[in-house]
Amino acid sequence: MAAHKQNFFMKYLWSTDHKIIAMQYLFTGMFMALVGGFLAYAFRMQLAFPGTDIPLFGVVSPGEYNALVTNHGTIMIFWVAMPVLVAALGNYLIPLMVGCDDMVFPRLNRLSYQVFLVSAIIILASFFVPGGAFGGAWTAYPPLSTTAEFSLTPFGSPLWVLAVALEFVAFLMGGINFITTAMNSRAPGMKMFDVPIVVWFIVLASILFMGSVGPLIAGAIMLLFDQLVGTGYFNPGVGGDPILYQHLFWFFGHPEVYVVLLPALGIVAEVITVFSRKKLFAYKIVLYTAIATGVLSFFVWAHHQFVAGIDPRMANVFTVTTVLISIPIAEMLFVYIATLYGGSIRLTTPMLWALAFLAEFLLGGVTGIFLGASGADVYFHDTYFVLAHFHYTFFPIAIISVFAAVTFWFPKMFGRLMNETLGKVHFWITVVCFNGIFLPLFLLGTWGQHRRIYNYEHFPELAGQDMQQLRVFATMCLVVMLCAQAIFLFNFFWSMFKGKKAGKNPWKANTLEWTVPSPPPHGNFAKLPVCYRGPYEYSHPDREEDYWPQDEPASETT
């Protein structure tokens, strides 16, 4: 892995360097987040001001409205949360944090991004085909998704399925790399319980992804066949069953929540330990609760289908498993909160994001209990209560924790510090507006507002002024929040070139990525490191310094 000269194309576009691939994923994910945000802007404006000519978009037709909500969901989960949380951070952090020069399979890694890029181009292209983009909700339930006469998107539907299937292929290849690298390439001395939590969690997420995605890939292929060659896997007219697809989808769909949640929780663990100068409270409990959550997550999928026409007795089983999953998750959140006890807490921008994650995710967690309890879900299913609930989980996951990660590792990635004042302004506007968007939606859902409706004028009980005002308020908060992202983008790109030089270890952190220059050179470590201790030895009583890097031999103790 000696340094050698490469042209721009080979270095930045055709690279096998895990850091460059991470950047490719990160920037693609950021671009897709802007697309997903714009879609949200368009349909929220339609909800607040039905039928008006929306600036930058125009009048939203019912078909376009469906395409907007469908692709907002699809893009935010598969082309923002997955590439940024799992692929970008997994690629960037795993080799640096376990102390090796690159991924185990660098070319597979490059292929993973290339397939991902193709999938992103396909999903974007689907907006411009005759009939427009797919509008059958991100869950793509058949027969709506399989039959062009029903969906009226003869090209949009197959392109959507194709894009999603390719995206899964990309992440399978990425996952193989993450697991093998973390298992086989750890620095000498780094035992299982010395691995930083974020690495553990990305590996667990990859395992969950691999365990759950098979049925969905099968489902996606069957869907594609039903669409294109007229098979009848999900067509009741020829003996198929539409509910089968729902099982395949949610068997993947629910573990998927934890696939993106775990890396986010990992980021939070790294950030709160560094900025409270504390050892992580009960490392093993954190790890075991994550494994328990992962295992349980395979047995909860049908809580999405309580009222879908499954045998009602089945709902009782899935209520039990679903409510039980609150136990490891609550335990983990308690442990994180306990980590703050006795700390020396510095409210830097990354720390604010990490703490906001915990505060907001707690609300997402408790509102999930209403939906996991079958008797209450009969009413809440497919209302805005569900929507607000999962945005209180997904927004902290895909946005808040990502901002924590980007602001935390930015100095490592680009060698310069981001501006703290701009960072805090951006933080407060984003978090306050986020609550302003989704708290009213809980209320609207509680009052019976159902999802994916482009205009509530047909429903007298939902068309009142009080409810419309809440919709307008939520939309206003969204517009302000989206505008505030300009602050972040400016800070990001300005700091990349003009920020204060960061040095190797600006946060005085322990993990191995902070022992190499910022940004790390090709091959990462001049000399491959040896690991002497766990990652969270902050404020150790035997040391004057309040941190103790993992690669510092014990004999150098002061």
Binding site: Y141, P143, L144, S276, V307, P312, F334, L347, V378
Partner: protein, 227 residues
Amino acid sequence: MIESHLEQASTYAADIDNLIMFIGAVSFFWFFCAQGMFFYLIFRFRAKPGVKAEYITGDEKHLKRWVSIPHLLIIVCDVFIIIGAVMVWVNVKQDLPDPDRTVRVIGQQWAWTFVHPGADGVLDTEDDITTIDELHIEVGQVYHYQLQSEDVLHSFSVPVFRLKQDAVPGRRITGWFEAITTGQHDIQCAEMCGIGHGAMAAQIYIETPEQHAQWIRQRGEPLAAAD
């Protein structure tokens, strides 16, 4: 909370609302405990010059209690939530009482068709009354609905009943309701069903026995005249 905006118009609406309130009380108790502790710790342990953080591994018994006791209490709470949820669910969806009447509800892109039994009270006879986007029922009667779909998935949702059930093509799904107050309310389609999903609305008319008998007479007349 819900009934301030939506009446409880079915026998089980109050059960569902009470379950929601119970879960709300339990989970928000824990929510505010956790948030309170969280913000307290952030303010209490802000960095102060010259004060080093404590070195705590998480194996200390007296500290572990702060995690393990709430943890056990949450398991207890979960058990009660599960019992409540299953009891309500079994009543609403699993154990169907014998019906006084049966109606057929058919979803299709993008309208609801309702087939009511006519004056004889029996479905699938000559005097059935078929309507589009309006369902007429009598208060105080146990109804079974037979839910079907002609094309894609739909979901038969009556918010004042707190009832929701997907319609699946190729299946006939049976459920029940009994209205306890009269009035006119929304019926929604709560499952994405294509570009007209947002306009797939219907109204339910819950009528007194007299009103309902009169409606049946009126609707039956043109039919009788045609014979």
